[in-house]
Structures are given as C-alpha cells and as structure tokens.
Symmetry: C2
Subunit: 211 residues, 2 copies
C-alpha cells in the first residue's frame, strides 16, 4: 500500500519538504508546457519526466496517476491565467482594464507564435467529454474568469458608465466565448488576423453600451 487512497492530489497529507515541493512544481510546470503544446493524450509521463529532469519514482511519489497530474496542470494554468487577468484589472480601473486585458490576450498569443491556443480552452476541448471530474474543474475555471469580467462590468454599470439595459452576465459569457473561439482560429490559421478581427468586433459591441 504505497499510495494511500482517497487523497485528492496525493501527498498533501504527508509533509512536503522544500526539495519535495520544488520537484513537484518542476514536474507540474514541465507538464503544463507540454500539455499546452501537444495536448493531454499526446503528452507522455516519460516526456514530462525528461523535461523536468526527474525519474519515474518521483512522479508516482507526488502523483497517484497521470490524471492527477493533468488536474494539477489545470489548476496551475487556471491560477496563471486568473492571476494575470486579476492583475491587469486591478492596475487599470474602469473600461481601460477590459481593453488592456483584451490586448494582453492578443499580444500573448502573438508572443507564443500562435501555438496551443488558450491553455485552459485546449484542455477543455480535449478532456471535457472524457473526464467528468476534470470537466467540472474546467467549467469552474471558465466561470471564474467570466465572473471577474462580469464583476468589472457591474462596477461600470453602478458607476453609470455602462448602459443599464446591458446584461453584464451575458456580456461576460459572450466575451469569454469569443476569446476562446478566436484563440482557436488563430492557432489554426497561425496568424493573428482572425484574433484581431474578433477581438475588435467584441470590443465594438461592448463599447456600444458605454455611457
């Protein structure tokens, strides 16, 4: 009984030393890179281990199965993505925060050479119908990003900068959806024409409610 059953990601119950946590993090980050680039199924545990400079035993010491790793990767990517969104929205109040955030998404994709699309979106496309537990987590990740945007829209509405007839919830969903689709198109077409056009129209729609 080397792996006690029942834990979520596994040895959160056993004390994690500094070195241990570092190794675990290295594995998750390496996996995140590979999964983003190649997808879940096409990323093998051995690839991750080589990229992370770790051995098999380390891996199964920190994770119960490959699925657990995938879940950790999702949590990692969600944290990164939400962190960036939150940072930008805090740094830029009002309408400006939304504009800067949209531009950052476009610019980020350009810097990544249009590879992989949205880390969360690509995982969702591949795994939503395959792993029910992960599907829920993916939904929550989307929802948190959507909610952050909705929150900003409500602030704008409260301040009288967004038309009262506008629906922050629906608008936020709409923006997230458009972004996901535009990211997919761009990573398929390998140029940012589609992304720029879609984001442009999205912004146009949003500001049509500006007061």
């Amino acid at each position: 009984m080397s792996h006690p059953a029942g834990g979520l990601t596994m040895p959160t119950m056993t004390t994690l030393t500094t070195r241990g946590r570092a190794t675990r993090t290295r594995i998750v980050e390496a996996a995140a890179r590979l999964v983003h680039l190649n997808g879940v199924a096409a990323t093998t545990v051995d690839q991750v281990l080589e990229e992370a400079g770790a051995g098999k035993s380390q891996f199964y010491h920190y994770f119960g199965t490959k699925d657990d790793l995938v879940e950790a990767v999702l949590e990692f990517q969600a944290a990164v993505s939400e962190g960036e969104q939150t940072r930008i929205l805090e740094q830029h109040p009002g309408w400006d925060g939304i504009r800067v955030w949209l531009d950052a998404v476009v610019e980020g994709q350009r810097r990544a050479d249009y590879a992989g699309g949205c880390p969360i979106g690509s995982m969702a496309a591949e795994m939503a119908d395959r792993d029910p537990e992960l599907r829920v987590r993916l939904g929550e990740a989307f929802e948190r990003k959507r909610a952050a945007l909705e929150h900003r829209l409500r602030e704008l509405q409260d301040d009288g900068e967004l038309d009262g007839a506008a629906e922050p919830e629906g608008l936020a969903t709409f923006v997230i959806a458009t972004l996901q689709g535009a990211l997919l198109l761009t990573s398929t077409l390998k140029h940012d024409h589609a992304l720029a056009q879609a984001v442009g129209e999205t912004w146009r729609h949003l500001v049509s409610f500006r007061r």
Copy 2:
C-alpha cells in the same frame, strides 16, 4: 510494396467498386462519430473497425495510415457542416438566413446533449499544432464557412440592409469565433446557457448594423 506511396487518401488511383466505396464510407462515418465524441488520439483504429463492422485488412486497404483516416474524417465533417450551412442560407434569404443558421447551431448542440462541441473545432483544438498538413485543411474548412457568411453579409450590404460602415469580413470572422468558443463552453458546462447568451449577444451586435 503493398501500398503505393504518393497518393493522398490512397486508392483513388485503383478502381473503387460499389461495395468497396460502401465499406470505405462506413469506416469514415464510424470514425467521424467516434472522433467527434472522443477525440482523435483517444479513438483507436480497432474501435473504428468494430463500430464499422470491418476488419483490419479493409482499413489498410482503403487508408495508408490512421492520419489518412483522420483527414478523411475532417473532409467528411466539413462537407456535412458546410452543406447544412449552405442549405439554410439558400432556404432563408436576407437576415433571416443568418438568424436561422445561428438557431440551428444552438439547437443541434442541444440535440447532441452538448457532447463534442463543433466537430471541426474539436479536431482543430487537438490537431492544429500536431499535424501541419491537417492544420492547413482545418484552416480551409473554417475559412469556407466564414466566407459563406461573409458572402451573405455582403449581399445584405449591397441591398442596403447592412450599414455600409460594417466590415463583412471581420464580422464573419467574429461570428465564427464566437460560435466556436460558445460551443466549447457549452460542451464543457453541459448546458446551453452560455451558448444561448453568446449567440444572443452576437446576434445583437450583428443587427446593430441593420439598416
């Protein structure tokens, strides 16, 4: 040398009998179903063969490799998707065609129990960064659907029903992107709330240019 190299999908050079074509079609359709539901990597050749009621030898008689099958599946799904879009746009002239088409997409997803998302979109998400040749085909499939929509928008513009300031190309890209993203969100969240909201806002944006 059982499989002459150089051909695209393979025995288009060799004469295809009625029975042969039927078998090939059965394989492609079975694969299309499985790939849509489970993705490319998670669909095995053996699964396809069992679903199609065919043997290994049939498969490698009609396809060189699994990749060739995937390409055939894409072509099949693209034909289905474009066929439906064309049919609807022809049956419903003017703005109505766009509205009916959008509704059909939403309704189609509902009937499919929010499984798989867009057949082309899910393949794009999984394969765009993995198979360069397929990536090009996927891009072309997107482009054809986008172009059909752009065409309708230009007609509307020529007829004075769409504002001259509107940009049909960008609007069409925007609609395709939003649809793709909304389909992804919906198949992740397993209810059509997001899809309905996103499509609703998209329609609202479109008709804001109606004259």
